[in-house]
């Protein structure tokens, strides 16, 4: 972590949730600013210039998606979205609109803090020079030479599989939607060909996971996309 104090804005209309989040974050010595409505939130973000925004999708005045779009017009600070389980399409919409990750209610403090840390770290890392190797469990990826090793044994990946893995690594720890992956790997003309993604993801898991049915590294965020777990 860096010495500068971390600054956060919570936009959430439910007082108990805001309260519980604020006290959880305050215990990490982070500064928390609260906003009750979308409008208030936009103003707070503009004035406080936070390192990150936690945004509830169900706001009384404007829709959370609208808030994301307005924020993205002028800032690229990480946005963590809070939503209910039955709103998969909303999550995807929010992510495609520019949110960075999401948390499903109800959630625990540990889960929430982990997500925030991932997003904060990515922001800092983004400014640092690209790393040369990526390690995850018994997997090592030589990003310079495009070589992948599992348990120190080279794994042969096809170019597409490698591009897929590369995209996941660049977004490690954060959810990435089907659409984003398709765009990054196959290009814009394939953005609707979900089955391509599924098949190659299956191949990738077969090659990297010990047990592809219960993956440890590349997990499925059902109805949303995939997440490469860190650590």
């Amino acid at each position: 972590m860096n010495d500068q104090p971390v600054n956060l804005v919570i936009i959430e209309d439910e007082k108990p949730i805001r309260h519980f989040l604020a006290s959880a974050l305050a215990s990490e010595d982070w500064t928390v600013h609260e906003a009750e409505t979308g409008k208030q939130g936009l103003i707070t973000v503009a004035t406080r210039k936070p390192d990150m925004v936690i945004l509830d999708l169900g706001l009384p005045d404007t829709s959370g998606i609208e808030v994301i779009k307005q924020l993205r017009e002028w800032t690229d600070i990480p946005i963590l979205v809070l939503s209910a389980r039955t709103q998969e399409h909303q999550k995807v919409e929010a992510l495609d609109a520019g949110a960075d990750d999401y948390l499903t209610k109800p959630f625990g403090v540990a889960e929430c803090l982990a997500r925030i840390r991932v997003l904060l770290r990515r922001r800092q890392r983004g400014s640092a020079a690209a790393e040369q190797t990526f390690r995850l469990g018994d997997i090592r990826v030589d990003l310079v030479n495009r070589l992948v090793y599992k348990a120190e044994e080279e794994v042969h990946l096809t170019p597409i599989e490698y591009r897929l893995l590369g995209t996941l690594i660049r977004n490690a720890g954060k959810v990435i939607t089907h659409r984003e992956l398709l765009l990054a790997v196959w290009g814009p003309s394939y953005s609707e060909h979900n089955q391509y993604l599924r098949v190659y993801m299956g191949h990738l898991r077969q090659k990297l996971e010990d047990n592809p049915a219960t993956p440890r590294y590349i997990v499925t965020e059902t109805g949303v996309g995939y997440r490469l777990l860190e650590g």
């Binding site: 389980r85 039955t86 998969e88 399409h89 109800p106 625990g108 096809t158 170019p159 597409i160 060909h193 979900n194 089955q195 391509y196 599924r198 098949v199 190659y200 993801m201 299956g202 898991r205 077969q206 047990n211 592809p212 049915a213 219960t214 993956p215 997990v219 499925t220 965020e221 059902t222 109805g223």
Partner: protein, 897 residues
């Protein structure tokens, strides 16, 4: 002693009648021999007494005719203002029935019971207004003169020479609750008249003076007294029957009156009524619809209808019978109805019809057996325009133009026969030449019917005589032998033409009947197939409009019993009239006694349980609807429609009841869930958090408490999620299907159920060759999570849980099995019903929604879910997903740069 026992059916009928009577108002008639005896006065005095007793009395209509004493009696009684009805430029004051009903008095006074209302009023007759008042529970006092009684109408006419047009059906009189005779000896009446106490309008003075002769008054008084005595006698007998005084059950006499088309029909019916009265017998008036009906003139048809209507008004049961042979049909019906006496008319009309009549009488007499036959003679002076018309139509059944063609053809064929005969004459004898003519006659009769046939017969004889019988070219006959030839030739020709014409005629009648039967059959079949009221109405209109050559509208009641038009609007249809018909269950409008000025006929659609609506008919041609046989057809159709509507109604009721039962069960289940299954974790949460708030707990305890709080909360979250999912699935969720590997759903499901599965050993076996499946990832994950959590919940810690999948033909089977205690003894699929739990009193938390959700999801995917026990112990839940044809998959681009 069964002999003394009253007839149970009669008792039941009486009980029913008593019930109806209790609701109905009571009718009291002040009955007198003629005007001026003091009926109105008596009625008003009786009403004043009632008012003193505190009864709310309203004077509906009272005609005082300027009599002072009577007017004085009106004093202090509330008067209902008359309604002004415009008729032919005049404004006439008429009884206002709507106001009377609205004021709802306990007793209403209505003078002159037999009065005919101004055309345009709701009912034709005042007694119908009274019926409606009685039905509304209002008591009615009214007045009536003996000459207005329908059955005595002609007798009074004969005595006094004045025929009264305003008549009252006898059954109305007979059904009155009380009849009070107002009697005044003729001498006294005459002296009152002389003293000017009975006011007589100036113009009518002479006619009235003729009427008020002592002889007339005596006769009228006798009639009135006797009619009242008859009623008292009937009451006495009814009383005795009520009190079981009469030990023997008398077989009731039943009279059958054969209504004909002759002008004496009315007289026949009145005579029948009197006979029935004197015998205290039920009576039935029938019209037999024979093929001959087709040939009747308009006037005759009208007479038949009028006759039947009159009979109905006089209290007869009326029926139209169908049959080819009048006497046989009549007697067969008489036997089925236990008729003891048959009444037929004897006409003194034209010769042709007399021949026919006589044979009918003889026919009946020959076959009547134990049925007595009464013959009522018709008066000759009652001849009217119907007779020549009858003759024409008897003789010439065809349409006019075709008739003309027939006669021309008859003449031509005789000419032709003559031509052929003249060719043959040199070679054949005259006996054979005759055959040519006979052939011509037969052909004409077959083609053109009776009339041309007869003409051809006569022409043939004449021509044959003229051209071939010596001396030729003369009508005189030299050899008398030929007279026999002529005679036989004419007879044979006539008989043949008669027979062939009849054959032809009967064939056409058969076709006509067949068409009607087919129409009914088609209607019945289509109605039986109809599933909704709208379909029934559509069928009704499309089938019946061409059949009756009329425009039809159907009204059906809404939930508040107010009628709505359910079909296309027909010009002139009136919802108000339809509503009246529906409420009173009686036809109204065109051709009926109620609102006859309306252009439509309104028929109630009466079903066994209740009236289901109203059928409105706008006829384009009157006789298409108002012929007796068409009326019968229309009534049959209406009954069929009503039955179909009732059937559909009860199907709906049954479905509603099922739905209501199901939603009631669901509601109860939801309530019990909310009250019990939500409150339990809440109680735990409140308790635990208050424990934490106390502060004096060790850090280990705190950890424990926090864990418990989290467990309980997650359990509650599960429950709420399940309830929400169920609601969402029930309201019809749209599947977000995508082609994907099953591994994905399995992986995320195992991760989601991880917490529940922590105490169990899970093994997953997914063969690598599983096809790509098309499914909604979120929902299938939900199924897997529910099955896995169930397995964990209902098995002891440490049990093995296995998740397997395999391809099976066109589908993929996924099983979640355990080695726990297995399922309780329960029907496989019942387990998947909402709010059903294996053991309802189980302490294991849950509401029985998980499996119901699974089933909904799997069925939405076109799969099947089932549960079973496995050996030696344990349960297995398996579901299938259709494999389908997977989409084109990308080729591995091995050497892509």
């Amino acid at each position: 002693m069964t002999d003394n026992r009253p007839d149970p059916d009669a008792l039941l009928e009486e009980l029913k009648q008593d019930e109806i009577d209790a609701r109905r108002g009571r009718l009291k008639i002040f009955f007198g021999a003629c005007a001026g005896v003091g009926k109105t006065y008596a009625m008003l005095s009786a009403a004043r007494l009632k008012q003193q007793e505190g009864v709310k009395v309203l004077v509906g209509v009272v005609e005082t005719h300027g009599r002072k004493e009577t007017e004085a009696q009106l004093d202090g009684l509330e008067l209902l203002p008359r309604k002004q009805v415009a008729y032919k430029g005049h404004s006439l004051a008429e009884f206002d029935i709507d106001q009377a009903l609205a004021r709802a008095p306990e007793l209403i006074l209505i003078d002159e019971f037999a009065h005919s209302n101004v055309p345009g009023s709701r009912h034709v007759k005042r007694w119908q207004d009274v019926e409606e008042l009685l039905a509304a529970g209002i008591d009615v006092y009214t007045t009536l003169n003996v000459q207005h009684l329908e059955s005595l109408n002609d007798v009074v006419g004969q005595i006094t020479g004045i025929v009264v047009r305003e008549t009252l059906p006898d059954h109305v009189f007979d059904q009155a609750d009380e009849v009070s005779l107002v009697d005044l000896p003729p001498d006294e009446l005459l002296s009152r008249l002389a003293a000017g106490k009975v006011y007589i309008a100036h113009q009518a003075e002479r006619a009235v003076k003729n009427f008020f002769r002592k002889g007339n008054l005596l006769a009228l008084r006798e009639l009135a007294l006797r009619r009242t005595a008859d009623r008292v006698d009937a009451q006495m007998r009814a009383y005795r029957a009520d009190q079981s005084i009469r030990p023997v059950w008398h077989a009731r006499e039943r009279l059958l009156i054969c209504v004909g088309d002759g002008p004496g029909t009315e007289k026949l019916i009145r005579a029948g009524k009197r006979l029935a009265n004197s015998l205290d017998a039920d009576w039935i008036a029938v019209f037999v619809e024979t093929p001959a009906l087709q040939k009747l003139s308009e006037a005759q048809r009208a007479r038949i209808m009028k006759g039947l209507k009159l009979a109905q008004e006089l209290g007869a049961e009326t029926t139209v019978l169908g049959g080819t042979h009048l006497a046989a049909t009549l007697l067969a019906y008489a036997r089925t109805r236990n008729v003891s006496k048959l009444v037929v008319g004897r006409s003194t009309r034209g010769r042709l019809s007399r021949i026919w009549r006589r044979s009918l009488l003889e026919d009946i007499a020959r076959h009547s057996g134990d049925v007595d036959v009464y013959v009522v003679s018709h008066e000759e002076n009652q001849h009217d325009s119907g007779a020549p018309d009858t003759f024409n139509s008897l003789l010439f059944g065809e349409a006019a133009h075709q008739r003309k063609h027939g006669y021309i053809a008859a003449a031509l064929s005789c000419l032709l026969a003559t031509g052929v005969s003249s060719l043959l004459d040199p070679y054949f004898s005259l006996v054979n030449v005759v055959m040519i003519y006979l052939l011509a006659v037969v052909l004409v009769a077959v083609r053109f019917g009776r009339g041309p046939g007869v003409l051809a017969s006569f022409l043939s004889v004449a021509v044959f005589d003229y051209f071939f019988v010596p001396p030729r070219m003369s009508l005189s006959v030299s050899d008398t032998q030929y007279l026999l030839t002529f005679g036989i030739m004419l007879a044979v020709a006539l008989i043949i033409s008669q027979l062939t014409a009849r054959l032809r005629f009967e064939a056409s009648i058969a076709t006509y009947r067949e068409r009607r039967t087919r129409a009914l059959y088609d209607l019945g079949r289509e109605l039986a197939g109809a599933l909704t009221a709208a379909q029934i109405i559509e069928t009704t209109i499309s089938r019946l409009e061409p059949l009756f050559n009329a425009r039809l509208a159907v009204f059906t009641p809404d939930s508040k019993d107010s009628l709505q038009l359910s079909s296309e609007l027909v010009a002139g249809s009136d919802t108000g009239v339809a509503q009246w018909v529906y409420d009173n269950q009686q036809p109204a409008g065109l051709g009926t006694q109620t609102l006859p000025s309306n252009v439509l006929l309104y028929l109630p659609l009466k079903a066994p349980m209740r009236t289901r609506g109203v059928l409105a008919v706008l006829p384009e041609k009157m006789d298409k609807v108002f012929l007796p046989e068409q009326q019968r057809l229309l009534e049959t159709c209406a009954a069929q429609i009503a039955l179909a509507l009732e059937r559909v109604h009860y199907v709906e009721v049954a479905q509603d009841a099922l739905v209501a039962m199901e939603s009631e069960r669901l509601r109860n289940s939801v309530l019990s869930v909310v009250s019990h299954d939500l409150r339990t974790p809440l109680t735990t949460l409140v308790g635990l958090s208050s424990l934490l708030a106390e502060g004096n707990v060790s850090s280990e305890q705190r950890q424990d408490i926090a864990n418990s709080i989290q467990d309980e909360s997650l359990r509650m979250n599960n429950l709420v999620t399940n309830l929400l999912d169920m609601a969402r699935l029930q309201s019809g969720v749209k599947l977000q299907k995508e082609w994907q590997m099953l591994d994905e759903a399995v992986g995320s499901a195992v991760r989601a159920a991880n917490r529940s599965l922590s105490g169990h050993a899970l093994s997953i076996r997914l063969p690598p060759d599983l096809p790509v499946l098309e499914y909604d990832a979120v929902l299938i994950e939900r199924v897997l999570v529910n099955l896995l959590e169930n397995a964990a919940k209902y098995t002891p810690a440490g049990s093995h849980i296995a998740l397997e999948a395999k391809r099976d033909g066109g589908k993929v089977v996924v099983c979640v099995s355990d080695d726990g205690p297995g399922l309780p003894d329960m029907q496989g699929q019942k387990l998947f019903d909402k709010f059903t739990r294996g053991n309802s009193e189980s302490s294991t938390p849950g509401v029985g929604l998980g499996l119901a959700i699974c089933r909904s999801i799997i069925e939405a995917h076109g799969g099947v879910i089932s549960a079973d026990n496995r050996l030696p112990h344990g349960a297995v839940f398996s579901f299938t997903l259709p494999a389908g044809a997977s989409p084109a998959l990308p080729q591995e681009e091995e050497f892509d740069a």
